[in-house]
């Protein structure tokens, strides 16, 4: 046989060289992977094999301005399962379910999940975790987590807010400063196999968590206590729909206390309606400030020299602009008076005149300069801006009503901030809730200094304004706010609640008082706002001013503000001699109009309405068109055709009016289609016809009003 030929030998040699070359390339490739990319790949592989068990950072505390802890974190065990490690899920579920107070099937479902890590129950109490630890079940572990602890559960929950299960801030400061408070999560890293089991000789790594920063608020725990106490008293006496008290340092804008009703407990927030915890009325609630806003009108007009304290005004008892007659709260009016007296008396016509003298442009300039219509930047979630009629749309009537705090809606924080500027010499300060952020060792991380937004009015103007406001408390409508031993300035306010559909809600009021003390060197400015108080009394001077008196006394004494001896005392105030804003409007004719159009007309006129019967056309209305009624009065619209004429002659029975004020009696009769013929002043004493008598609609009831006897106190 012939030997292998040359060609074959050459080809095989060639093959060897090729094979050797390719295999050498593999060595080169290995070197590239193992040397050049080695560290990177080793690291990535390790990360890939590591499983994290997160270690929660201890959440920072929230402290008051004096360093008292308001909210802090305590540790609690959370129970988790590593489903792969649980050998007898049925047995384990049966053991754990009763201790964890969970459904057995639910426990089993969790511990049989195809997962490496499942929470069974978060933040259990000490006994529960001890019981489970004693069972020593493989695959059941414990992670130390922290749980929020409130030193005083009822203290300022709207400001502090609360956290969710994962300690994430949900509301209030907890939400606004979540980043600062939460800290940095730590980790326990353990090397695992691809199925989630810890491998033999696994790498362990512990990366400790960094504790969250502490938040030092401007709140003063003690003052907050006073505020919560006063709010509780308000709820007990008047059970209002809502109440807000804000105490501020007028010179710095720092909020010393802020409380709301209804309130809630931060640990049980799920148990109350969402509307209670998801908004802070102090920064969210838009309301008509009423006479408290006259402080702004007066200060602006004095600054612009639109009025001087000694200017004379004449109040015939009403002020007419266009078709509206805005009445002074005092029947018959205040007659001739100086501007100082206008302020003392809270005289509506006097203020309307002042506002109109100031003029739209300047009035709007000051309203904006005082911070209305924009958020204050206090840093709480959900702050509202207030509602203002756009300047270009504002009529003289609007300017007139805005002068007395109507046709404008503000938030409590806006108003107290603006009044702080009047108190402190004209500087609008940015309201502040946070003094500083500290790390857990107490080093300052961020500090918030008092911030002046702008200079609004001059020192001289504020001195004059404050003198006028002091007189309001000393001898005017705010006498119930007087604080023995301190010079107090302030203004009462009673306004109607703006109905949801526009116009005013009949019989619903906001009573408020805004004031500050001591006048010569203000330490606190306070706003008390009580929305829809129940039980008859709703005047700011009756309901809110006494709260100021009692609160301011405690706060000023607590702050160590020296009392001034021998201050003159105000004269006693008659319980019925309190202001009442009234706007009378002529009822428009809506008969034979489509319902929607009729409603629109009434809304624009500031009237409420109620429909009777089915239909889309209005066939009758009560009261009739042209009648002068208080704004907010309900107009009854008859939608059933053919019955409108008989309705007019319908009989109604006369209600009992005894003990009612003129206004209450008028409202009640108007709603029945009857007219009031009043005489005298004070509270209703006698009436004719008597209760129960049948009258046709449109008839008048004569009522005599008398001041109540002196032993009757309110």
């Amino acid at each position: 046989m012939k030997t292998t030929n040359i060609l074959v030998r050459r080809r095989i040699t060639c093959l060897f060289l090729l094979a050797a070359a390719f295999l050498s390339l593999i060595v080169v490739r290995l070197a590239w992977i193992q040397f050049v990319r080695g560290d990177e790949l080793r690291e990535q592989g390790m990360v890939n094999r590591m499983r994290d068990v997160p270690v929660e950072a201890k959440r920072g505390s929230i402290l008051d301005r004096n360093g008292n802890e308001l909210v802090t974190s305590i540790s609690a065990d959370s129970v988790y399962a590593i489903p792969n490690h649980i050998e007898k899920p049925d047995q384990v579920a049966a053991q754990l379910a009763p201790i964890l107070l969970m459904d057995e099937a639910k426990v089993k479902q969790i511990i049989t999940k195809k997962s490496r890590f499942e929470w069974l129950k978060r933040k259990v109490d000490f006994e529960t975790s001890e019981k489970i630890k004693a069972l020593k079940i493989d695959g059941i572990g414990f992670a130390e987590e922290s749980k929020r602890y409130y030193k005083q559960e009822t203290l300022a929950p709207h400001i502090l807010g609360f956290t969710g299960t994962d300690n994430q801030g949900l509301m209030g400061m907890e939400a606004a400063y979540n980043k600062e408070l939460k800290g940095i999560q730590g980790r326990i890293v353990i090397e695992h196999d691809a199925a989630g089991r810890e491998i033999p000789q696994a790498l362990h790594q512990y990366i400790p968590a960094t504790q969250g920063n502490n938040l030092v608020l401007t709140l003063d725990q003690t003052i907050q206590h006073f505020v919560e106490r006063e709010l509780d008293k308000i709820v007990a006496s008047y059970n209002p729909k809502m109440a807000v008290i804000i105490v501020m340092d007028p010179k710095t804008g720092e909020v010393l206390a802020m409380g709301n009703r209804p309130t809630f407990s931060p640990t049980k927030w799920r148990e109350v309606p969402q509307s209670v915890w998801d908004r802070n009325p102090a920064v969210w609630y838009n309301y008509e400030p009423g006479s408290t806003f006259k402080i702004i009108t007066a200060a602006s007009a004095l600054e612009e020299n639109a009025v001087k304290p000694n200017d004379r005004f004449y109040d015939p008892g009403y002020y007419q602009i266009a078709d509206r007659k805005i009445r002074c709260w005092k029947d018959g009016g205040h007659g001739s008076q100086s501007f100082a007296e206008v302020v003392e008396n809270s005289c509506n016509p006097g203020f309307i005149q002042t506002g109109l003298n100031l003029g739209k442009e300047k009035f709007y300039k000051y309203i904006r300069a005082f911070g209305f219509g924009q958020t204050t930047g206090i840093g709480l979630p959900g702050e509202a801006r207030g509602i203002m009629i756009p300047e270009k749309d504002a009529t003289n009537l609007n300017i007139g009503t805005m002068s007395i705090g109507q046709s404008i809606a503000v938030t409590p924080i806006q108003l107290i901030t603006a009044i702080g500027a009047v108190a402190n010499g004209g500087n609008l300060m940015k309201p502040q809730l946070v003094k500083r952020v500290e790390d857990y060792k107490g080093n300052v991380v961020r500090e918030f200094k008092p911030e002046q937004v702008r200079k609004v009015i001059s020192n001289e103007t504020t001195t004059t304004t404050n003198q006028l406001l002091e007189n309001v408390v000393f001898k005017g409508t705010g006498r119930n706010a007087y604080v023995d031993g301190y010079r107090v300035a302030g203004k009462t306010g009673t306004a109607q609640v703006v109905a949801e559909r526009g116009g005013y809600a009949s019989g619903k009021y906001v009573a408020s008082f805004a004031g500050f003390a001591p006048v010569n060197d203000p330490k606190i400015s306070v706003l008390i706002m009580i929305a829809e108080p129940q039980g008859g009394n709703y005047y700011g001077g009756q309901v809110a001013a006494p709260v100021f008196s009692s609160l301011a006394l405690d706060v000023l004494r607590y702050l160590g503000v020296p009392e001034q001896k021998n201050l003159p005392k105000p004269t006693k105030i008659n319980p019925w001699d309190v202001e009442e804003e009234r706007i009378e409007v002529a009822v428009p004719n809506v008969v034979n109009l489509p319902l929607e159009e009729a409603q629109k007309l009434l809304r624009e006129a500031g009237l409420a309405f109620e429909s009777k019967g089915q239909g889309k056309m209005v066939y009758g209305q009560i009261p009739e068109s042209g009648a002068l009624v208080l704004s907010g009065t309900t107009v009854i619209l008859d939608l059933s055709s053919g019955t409108s004429q008989t309705k007019q002659g319908e009989q109604v029975s006369v209600p009992n009016l005894k003990g009612k004020t003129i206004r209450e009696a008028g409202n009640l009769l108007e709603s029945l289609g009857l007219k009031l013929e009043p005489s005298g002043s004070g509270l209703a004493e006698t009436q004719n016809p008597a209760e129960g008598a049948k009258l046709t609609r449109g008839s008048a009831v004569k009522v005599e009003f008398k001041p109540p006897s002196s032993d009757q106190k309110t």
Binding site: I26, Q34, N48
Partner: protein, 367 residues
């Protein structure tokens, strides 16, 4: 023809023994955790591999002493048997299905993979045929076509399983043999081009191959899916560095790297023994090619020459493919690393092939 036999090539024998030993150790190390988890016995795969290795060594020694010329008489029946088994394995119920492919015939005490046997059969058949053709190999129709047809049938059947890797190794080996036998480069070039097109089609037609193919280019695009094997393999190799993590110290074997005792055993080796260990294995393969092809060049007749070259290149080609896959240099095609990977049939027929080459080495001309 010299009848006096010389002793077989000692270097080749030793190289193979060394590879085999490394393989046994690595099969144990790589599979120890998986088998512990799966069967509760760390030695489960090791014991089986050891048994196959001993069986293979016995077969090798037997073939070493079995005159290769006598193989010629058996080629017909062997090839027929190979094809029958390759067909039978595709019948449902006969072939065992694992991971979506039907590659094994379960014999009860062991699984048998016909494709591994057919590779060796075809090498013998082609070597025999080409040796007879001699110069006529330069003619396409007469010299090349018959073998190409046989190869295509075998490859087609293997692809049916489907087992692209083994089919590629088979075709590549036959191609190398045609080259070694002296086929015209023009023909080979055309064939090579056709082969590339076919492989391209095979990849394009099967979506899973396509995604695997793309994954090799950008494994990090889908680290949990198609890129998973390559990424985990690179993690293993990268962790090894120069000296490795130490024998038994692999971390990627904790269920991260799939097939860590079969197709990806080289990655675990690189992780535990480092660059030094991995390159030594490559070096052993270079040595293996050198001795194998040297025997082919110095063998007494064209049949022996082509047979030795075919067996040597088949094994080397498979090793090269496996190591390319593991190092992320080519798309993932599941072929085991000869001598090292776990897999009984593969080891048995590899060692039978080595036995044949060693037998041929006894007839070579000393130069």
């Amino acid at each position: 023809m010299r009848l006096k036999k010389r002793p077989p090539d000692f270097v080749l024998f030793l190289t193979v023994l060394m590879l085999l030993c490394v393989g046994l150790v690595m099969v144990f190390s790589a599979s120890q955790y998986v088998t512990m988890v799966r069967y509760g016995d760390s030695f489960y795969f090791f014991k089986r591999q050891l048994l196959w290795a001993l069986l293979g060594l016995g077969a090798m020694v037997f073939m070493m002493n079995f005159n290769y010329n006598n193989l010629k008489r058996w080629i017909g029946p062997i090839v027929v048997t190979g094809f029958v088994l390759l067909t039978v394995v595709l019948i449902p119920g006969v072939g065992t299905e694992t991971n979506g492919s039907q590659r094994w015939i379960d014999l009860g005490f062991m699984s048998f993979s016909p494709a591994e046997m057919v590779k060796l059969c075809l090498i013998m058949f082609v070597a025999f045929g080409l040796a007879k053709k001699g110069e006529r190999i330069r003619d396409f129709k007469e010299g090349l076509l018959p073998y190409l047809v046989v190869m295509a049938i075998a490859a087609g059947l293997i692809l049916k399983q489907p087992d692209l890797g083994t089919a590629m190794v088979l075709c590549g080996t036959i191609f190398i043999m045609l080259f070694a036998a002296g086929a015209r480069l023009f023909h080979l070039g055309a064939l090579g081009g056709a082969g590339v097109v076919m492989v391209g089609l095979a990849i394009a037609l099967e979506p899973y191959r396509m995604s695997r193919f793309l994954a090799f280019l950008h494994p990090e695009a889908d680290p949990q899916g198609t890129g998973y094997h390559i990424i985990q393999s690179l993690y293993a190799l990268g962790s090894g560095g120069l000296f490795g993590m130490g024998l038994g110290q692999s971390k990627q074997k904790f269920l991260y790297l799939p097939e860590n005792h079969t197709d990806f055993i080289f990655a675990i080796t690189g992780e535990e023994l480092g660059f030094i260990g991995a390159s030594l294995i490559v070096l052993l393969f270079i040595m293996f090619v050198w001795r194998g092809l040297k025997i082919a060049v110095t063998s007494p007749d064209p049949f022996a020459s082509l047979l030795a070259a075919g067996i040597t290149s088949g094994i080397s080609l498979q090793a090269l493919m496996n190591m390319s896959v593991v190092t992320g240099s080519m798309p993932v095609t599941g072929v085991p690393l000869p001598f090292i990977s776990y897999g009984g049939t593969s080891l048995l027929f590899t060692l039978i092939g080595i036995g044949i080459v060693l037998n041929i080495s006894r007839f070579t001309n000393p130069r």
